[in-house]
C-alpha cells in the first residue's frame, strides 16, 4: 500500500525537511568536491534533477512490473544501478544532439552522476516507502531540486568563507564540514512542519 501523503506535501518535504543531502547525507562526495565553484555546482545540480526524476520513475516501473512479480526484489541494487547507468548514457547522447549549451554545462557531470549515491538512495527510499508511481516521480523530482538547492547554498557560503579569516587547521574541508552541519540543522528546523514516511 502506498503511504497516504499528498504528492504536494511530499514534493516540499523532499526539498526541505527530508532533503536528501542534509537529512539523509547522501551524495556528499560531489557535494563537497564540486561546491568549490558555483558554476559547476549549478551544472551538477541541474544534472541531478534531470537524472533523479527520470531514474526514479523508471526504476518504479522496473520494480513493480518486473522485480515484484518475479519475486526478485533482492536484486534491486544491481538492477537500479544498471538502469541509472543506461539512462545517463542515453541522456548524454540526446543532450549532445539537442542542445550544445546544455551539453557543455552538464557534459562532464553526467557520467559522474552514475556513481552518485543520492541517485541510488532515492530509488531505494522509493522502494522502502512503497510509493505509488506519481509519488515516486514527485519524490525524485523534489529530491533533485533539494540537492540542487543545497549545493547552490553551500557554494554561495563557501564563496564567502573563502575570503574570511579562518584558523589554519580549519581551512578548506574542515570549515566546509562545519558549514554543512549548520545547514543540516537549519533544514531540519523545518521538520515539524512536514514529515515524510
Amino acid at each position: 500500500m502506498a503511504p497516504a501523503i499528498h504528492p504536494i506535501s511530499l514534493f516540499f518535504a523532499s526539498i526541505f525537511t527530508s532533503n536528501i543531502l542534509l537529512a539523509n547525507f547522501l551524495g556528499m562526495c560531489s557535494f563537497i568536491a564540486i561546491s568549490k565553484d558555483s558554476k559547476s555546482s549549478n551544472g551538477l545540480g541541474l544534472a541531478v534533477v534531470v537524472v533523479l526524476t527520470i531514474t526514479t520513475a523508471l526504476n518504479w516501473v522496473v520494480l513493480n512490473y518486473v522485480l515484484v512479480p518475479l519475486d526478485l526484489v533482492y536484486l534491486r541494487f544491481i538492477v537500479f544501478i544498471i538502469v541509472i547507468a543506461s539512462v545517463v548514457q542515453m541522456l548524454e547522447m540526446i543532450i549532445d544532439r539537442v542542445s550544445q549549451t546544455l551539453y557543455l554545462s552538464l557534459g562532464i557531470f553526467l557520467p559522474l552522476i552514475t556513481v552518485n549515491c543520492a541517485i541510488l538512495g532515492v530509488s531505494l527510499f522509493m522502494e522502502i516507502r512503497q510509493y505509488s508511481f506519481i509519488q515516486s516521480a514527485i519524490y525524485g523530482f523534489g529530491s533533485g531540486l533539494g540537492w540542487w538547492l543545497a549545493i547552490m547554498a553551500l557554494s554561495a557560503i563557501r564563496k564567502k568563507t573563502e575570503k574570511s579569516k579562518v584558523h589554519a587547521g580549519l581551512q578548506g574541508a574542515g570549515l566546509t564540514f562545519i558549514t554543512i552541519g549548520f545547514m543540516a540543522m537549519a533544514f531540519i528546523g523545518f521538520a515539524g512542519l512536514l514529515q515524510v514516511q
Binding site: L70, D71, L75, M90, M93, I94, R97
Partner: protein
C-alpha cells in the same frame, strides 16, 4: 531441475539486454548526423564523410593522419587542428593543452571535436603525404652487436614520398605480455628515390617493446605496418656548413641524407662535417662506406670518435666523448667565418650536450635541427 534458479540471471540479463538495445537504438537515431563535408585548407581538399565520430578518427579513415600519441583519449595534446567554422566553445578537456593564441584562433584538439555539421579545417600540407603502409621485410641484418638494419618493401606497389631525414612509425602487433599494438618512431635510412622501400636502423633497448620484437622475432618475409613520413628533420636549402652529429642508430637519417646528396650531386655544394660517437669499435658501423664517401667527395668530412676504445680495437682515430671532439673541431678545424647549421640525431642526453657545445661556439638554436624521440 528447478527452473527457479534461472529466473534471477534471466531477469537481470533481460533487463540489461533491453537497456543495451535502447542505448544502441538511441545511438543510431541521435548520433546519426548524415553525411558532412570537411573542407581542408580552404578548398584544397574536400572530404565527404559520415558525421557522429570525432574529427581525428574521421580524418584517419579518410587517409589523413594527424599526429596523435595517445590515440584520441585527449591526454597528449598532439592532434591540434585549426578549425575555421563554428564547432562550439572549447571543451574543458581541450583547454589545458592550448595557449591563449591558440584558443583565440580556434585551434582544437581534433580528438575532442565531434563532427556534426560541415566543417572547415586547416592542417599543414605535409600531413597529406602521411600514409599507412604494409611492408614486407625484404632484408634484416646486424650492423653491430645491437643494431639491426631492416629493409621493408612496401606492398601492392605503393610508394612513399619523403624528404631525407624524416621518420616513420613502425607498428608491432601484440606479443607475449604486450597486449596492445605499439608504435615507435624511427628515422628512415633509405634514400627517398627508392620510393617503394623504407629502411630503419633499430637499436636494441633492453625492455623496449618494439626493439625487442624487431630483434628477437622479426624475420624476412614478415609483414609490418609502417606510417610515414613525419618530422621536421631534413636539410635546409642553404650553403651553410653542415655540422652533423650522431650516435648509435642516430646514423639512420644521415645515411639517407648523404646518399640523397650523392644522387642529386649536391656533395660539392657545401661543407659537411659528420661526427659519429660510439663507445668501442664494435659500436661503429658503415665505416667503409663513410670513408669511401670522404675520399670521393672533397667537402665531406667524417669523424668517428670512441669514448672507451679497448686495447684490442687498435683505434687510431679520435678518442673522447663526442661533445669534446665536436668542441675541438669547431674551435680548430672548421672555418669560423662561414655560417653553420647543426643537424643532430641521437639520445636526448646527447642532443642537449651537443646543443650546449654548439651554442658555446656561436651557433644559434634556430639553426640547429633535430627530432627528439627516444
Amino acid at each position: 531441475m528447478n527452473l527457479a534458479y534461472f529466473v534471477a540471471p534471466l531477469a537481470v540479463s533481460g533487463i540489461s539486454a533491453a537497456l543495451a538495445a535502447l542505448i544502441s537504438i538511441t545511438d543510431r537515431i541521435v548520433n546519426n548526423y548524415g553525411e558532412v563535408t570537411i573542407d581542408v585548407n580552404s578548398g584544397s581538399k574536400k572530404l565527404e564523410v559520415n558525421g557522429g565520430a570525432n574529427l581525428l578518427v574521421t580524418l584517419a579513415e579518410s587517409g589523413i593522419f594527424v599526429p596523435s600519441a595517445c590515440g584520441g583519449r585527449g591526454s597528449c595534446g598532439e592532434c591540434k587542428v585549426k578549425v575555421n567554422s563554428d564547432v562550439g566553445p572549447h571543451l574543458p578537456t581541450e583547454i589545458p593543452y592550448l595557449d591563449k593564441d591558440q584558443i583565440q584562433n580556434n585551434v582544437r584538439l581534433s580528438c575532442q571535436v565531434k563532427l556534426k555539421t560541415d566543417i572547415g579545417i586547416e592542417i599543414p600540407e605535409y600531413l597529406f603525404k602521411i600514409k599507412q603502409y604494409t611492408g614486407t621485410v625484404e632484408r634484416i641484418r646486424d650492423v653491430t652487436h645491437d643494431i639491426k638494419e631492416v629493409y621493408f618493401k612496401l606492398d601492392d606497389g605503393q610508394t612513399v614520398d619523403f624528404r631525407a631525414g624524416q621518420y616513420g612509425q613502425i607498428e608491432v602487433p601484440p606479443y607475449d605480455k604486450v597486449k596492445d599494438r605499439t608504435q615507435r618512431a624511427y628515422s628512415m635510412s633509405s634514400v627517398p628515390s627508392d620510393t617503394n622501400h623504407v629502411e630503419f636502423l633499430v637499436r636494441l633497448v633492453p625492455g623496449g617493446i618494439v626493439t625487442t620484437y624487431v630483434h628477437d622475432r622479426l624475420k624476412e618475409g614478415e609483414k609490418m605496418k609502417v606510417i610515414a613520413p613525419f618530422g621536421e628533420f631534413y636539410v635546409r636549402e642553404t650553403d651553410a656548413t653542415m655540422i652533423c652529429v650522431a650516435g648509435g642508430s642516430g646514423m639512420a637519417p644521415f645515411k639517407s641524407i648523404f646518399y640523397d646528396f650523392i644522387e642529386k650531386d649536391k656533395m660539392k655544394d657545401r661543407d659537411i662535417w659528420y661526427f659519429f660517437g660510439a663507445r668501442t669499435k664494435k659500436d661503429l658501423f658503415y665505416l667503409d662506406e663513410l670513408e669511401k664517401m670522404q675520399n670521393e667527395h672533397e667537402r665531406f668530412h667524417f669523424v668517428a670518435a670512441l669514448s672507451e676504445p679497448q686495447p684490442e680495437d687498435e683505434w687510431e682515430g679520435e678518442t673522447g666523448l663526442i661533445t669534446e671532439v665536436l668542441g675541438r673541431y669547431l674551435k680548430e678545424e672548421i672555418s669560423q667565418e662561414k655560417p653553420k647549421e647543426g643537424y643532430l640525431c641521437g639520445s636526448p642526453g646527447m642532443l642537449d650536450a651537443c646543443m650546449a657545445v654548439m651554442r658555446e661556439h656561436g651557433m644559434t638554436e634556430d639553426k640547429i635541427y633535430f627530432d627528439k624521440f627516444a
